[in-house]
């Protein structure tokens, strides 16, 4: 990330002093944590990657960035990408990999962008935290739009946050690419019209439910129980499950939620007494692993189908025995190595896994970081398409137009995207594929094997 060079007013120096004081205390506090780390035998804490200045530890990006490093003809306006994810708070297990990805790409893009006219532009990625709070998130987006005057926004980890950010982007007429899953972010819920300025990259719960429906039909079940995490994501998986399962005459006879942090799952007693033939779960780790474990204990004979929120290694790591054999829809990112060589996504997926693990010193890849990667690449390509000499408003509009018109047949981590004016996601159901946990790893689980 390019360091921000804004001059600091005299006022801020006093705050800085206070901040230094605060940091002194922080050091005292974190010293305890460090002591414990030294006695640790195996675990590799992520501190190095997150506290070190990005760019120094970064593995240089080689293939991923489409920038060509020619000698620049002239120096043009500096470009800015505004990035907001839920690095802290309830959505941090999604938002932190996203932020890591943004830092990684920012480090890869230090050379800037050369436009079609050969003019070179500096590129800055401004990364802010939404704290998983819609108010803080909207405020961050507003800051990026009005104070930092960014050209394009990649913002929103959680659907609720994205929904609060989107109106700001629309009013300011700037493209915003969300990393959250709800369809409502990109479409007007009543009319079904695409929202002009808003795009998103993650596969949807609709895709997830469609793929699950195929699998459940193949199993020949007609009644299922549905458990979902009590979050916007979980609630949306249920809503889609109801829609898609119903179309295939699969009835949800019992549904209930659970919460992140739950240790006991009284829902299993209702599953026992409801007599359903399979359980579908819509959640993300860590609780999704725990609920799988509980289901194994309490209703061992009912097959479990998990959802696409679990495409992260944490899902397996936290309950390896329980999740063994559990099938779930996933993007291809989690099974990159196992894909056939002619798969259009394979190369970039493998490269992303390598880059990400190197940049974060060995953190496992998750599908969420991939969503950020796709979104940032769109932003980058949009900026790269601009001619020099445009005003801010034109640049913003130019990026939007480019994304809408040119992201076709575009392989990303989430699938092969085909964005149209009516569909600001552009993924088909085939973006998700079925995988299964085998020997403690995700394995491709094609329909033939069902």
């Amino acid at each position: 990330m390019i360091e921000r060079q804004r001059t600091i007013g005299r006022r801020t120096t006093r705050w800085q002093a206070l901040g230094v004081l605060a940091f002194a205390l922080l050091l005292v506090a974190s010293a305890c944590g460090d002591d414990d780390d030294t006695t640790a035998t195996t675990a590799a804490p992520a501190t190095t990657a997150t506290t070190a200045a990005p760019g120094t530890t970064a593995a240089p990006g080689t293939t991923a960035a489409p920038a060509t490093t020619q000698a620049p003809v002239a120096e043009g306006t500096a470009y800015k990408i505004g990035f907001v994810s839920a690095a802290t708070g309830g959505g941090s297990s999604l938002g932190l990999p996203e932020r890591n990805t943004a830092e990684m790409l920012a480090a890869q893009w230090t050379d800037g962008i050369v436009g079609p006219d050969g003019v070179h532009h500096d590129l800055e990625v401004i990364i802010l935290d939404s704290e998983s709070n819609p108010d803080a998130g909207a405020s961050a987006v507003s800051r990026l739009i009005t104070e930092d005057e960014v050209d394009v926004l990649v913002a929103g980890t959680l659907s609720g946050n994205s929904l609060a950010m989107a109106p700001l982007a629309e009013e300011a007429e700037i493209a915003m690419i969300s990393m959250a899953s709800s369809r409502r972010i990109i479409e007007d819920a009543d009319t079904g019209e695409a929202r002009f300025w808003i795009f998103k990259t993650p596969q949807e719960n609709g895709h997830n439910a469609a793929v699950q429906t195929d699998y459940l039909s193949a199993l020949g079940v007609s009644t299922v129980c549905y458990l979902f995490e009590n979050s916007g994501f979980g609630q949306d998986t249920l809503a889609n499950g109801q829609k898609f399962f119903g179309d295939a005459d699969i009835e949800i006879v019992y549904s209930d939620s659970f919460e992140r942090g739950d240790t006991e799952f009284p829902q299993t007693t209702s599953i026992q007494s409801s007599g359903c033939e399979a359980v579908v779960v819509g959640a993300i780790p860590p609780v999704s692993a725990l609920v799988t474990s509980a289901l194994r204990d309490f209703v061992p004979n009912v097959p479990i189908v998990q959802g696409h929120g679990n495409c992260a290694f944490a899902f397996i790591e936290l309950a390896p025995a329980a999740v063994e054999g559990v099938p779930l829809p996933c993007g291809r990112l989690m099974v990159a190595d196992g894909l056939p060589d002619d798969d259009p996504q394979k190369n970039l997926l493998v490269q992303y896994v390598v880059d990400y693990t190197a940049f974060t010193n060995g953190e496992p890849v998750s599908t969420f970081g991939g969503h950020a990667w796709d979104a940032l690449q769109w932003a980058y390509e949009g900026l790269a398409s601009l001619e020099e000499g445009l005003g801010l408003d034109d640049r913003r509009a130019g990026v939007r137009d480019h994304i809408e018109a040119n992201i076709t047949n575009w392989p990303g981590t989430g699938g092969v995207f085909n964005i149209t004016p009516d569909d600001h996601l552009g993924l088909g159901f085939d973006a998700l594929t079925f995988v299964r946990v085998e020997n403690g790893a995700f394995a491709y689980f094609p329909p033939e094997a069902w």
Partner: protein, 335 residues
């Protein structure tokens, strides 16, 4: 203005009627879901399992509150620290190393105790003359800071921690009459009972324990008797932090520990302590069990998403009725 009731028999009748009504509602709701005795048994067992965790955390709240009069919102952070430090030291959760587990647990408890002492010295002691609300806000700040440190050190991913019985992530289960019981729950129950017993012995029999109690009754009198309330405050914080860490460690196999686990657990522990009237350890344990039971039975027969609503309804009912299960109106302004 709270008045002393004159008709205990009337109150008893109302309580019994309410209890009967609640049981009837539970049975009616359960009947809609075809619940049999097995299901109810399962809900109760699971409820007592979750409740024992709340109870263990509640004991930390009670310890600090009785001695210093502070509701220590940082208690949840101690729980998190205990679990995370132990998990980090132990490392690979499936290594099956019992000695390593004990060592990891001891180091985690000691480290967290030190953090508790440091918190008292650095934040509570300098503000010891401030009013209660200020002190509470300080503990909120401490919670936020410690959780932040947890985020910096451990990131957002959850840790795996071995169950004590199997020394593996996968816990053993016991089955009787169709009811499933995780073996870790036995550890949690055992630990809660043990901590309660040790605490009672400690407070009742040892000199330091008596000094702690003296502080809680009357600071001035304690000072006159040569007991330093500030020393006791440090002691209470350290002890509460250690107890919190222990709670975190025994529940770690049941919940995969994560940097922000403390908020919810702390809140629940606090509610449990509040149900018990904040000043009595046995009452806090009863409060915890009651809370867990309420949550699980309510979630079982209705929607899980509403379980906290029922938990807080019980809390408010308990507060309004008696201000704690055993305690009389300790906050009543006396003329």
């Amino acid at each position: 203005m709270q008045r002393v009731s004159q008709r205990p028999t009337y109150k008893t009748i109302v309580s019994v009627a309410a209890a009967v009504a609640i049981v009837a509602v539970i049975l009616a709701l359960g009947a809609q879901k075809n619940f049999g005795p097995q299901q109810y048994g399962q809900l109760v067992v699971a409820g007592l399992g979750a409740g024992a965790i709340y109870a263990l955390i509640a004991l930390g709240f009670v310890m600090v509150y009785t001695v210093t009069g502070i509701i220590n919102f940082a208690q949840g952070a101690f729980v998190m620290l205990g679990a995370m430090i132990a998990a980090t030291i132990y490392g690979d959760a499936s290594s099956g190393d019992a000695v390593g587990l004990v060592i990891a647990a001891i180091i985690a408890i000691l480290a967290t105790t030190l953090v508790g002492v440091a918190v008292e010295r650095l934040t509570i002691f300098p503000a010891r003359n401030a009013d209660t609300l200020t002190l509470i806000i300080i503990t909120v700040g401490v919670y936020i800071a410690i959780q932040g440190v947890g985020l910096v050190v451990w990131g957002t991913s959850a840790k795996a921690f071995p169950a004590f019985t199997t020394l593996d992530i996968t816990d053993g289960t016991l089955r009787f009459w169709g009811i499933v019981l995780k073996t870790q729950t036995l550890w949690i129950w055992g630990t809660t009972a043990l901590v309660l017993a040790l605490l009672t012995l400690f407070l009742g029999r040892t000199l330091t324990g008596k000094a702690l109690r003296a502080c809680s009754v009357n600071k001035e009198a304690a000072r006159l008797m040569g007991i330093s309330p500030t020393r006791m405050s440090v002691f209470a914080f350290g002890l509460a932090a250690g107890m919190g860490a222990l709670a975190g460690i025994v529940l770690a196999p049941a919940t995969r520990p994560i940097y922000d686990m403390g908020l919810k657990l702390g809140l629940k522990g606090f509610v449990a302590a509040a149900m018990g009237g904040l000043v009595s350890s046995p009452a806090a344990v009863v409060g915890g069990l009651l809370l867990g039971l309420t949550e699980n039975v309510a979630a079982g027969v209705t929607k899980s998403g509403l379980k906290d609503v029922f938990a807080f309804i019980v809390l408010i009912a308990v507060l309004l009725r008696k201000r704690g299960i055993f305690a009389a109106g300790t906050d009543l302004e006396r003329p």
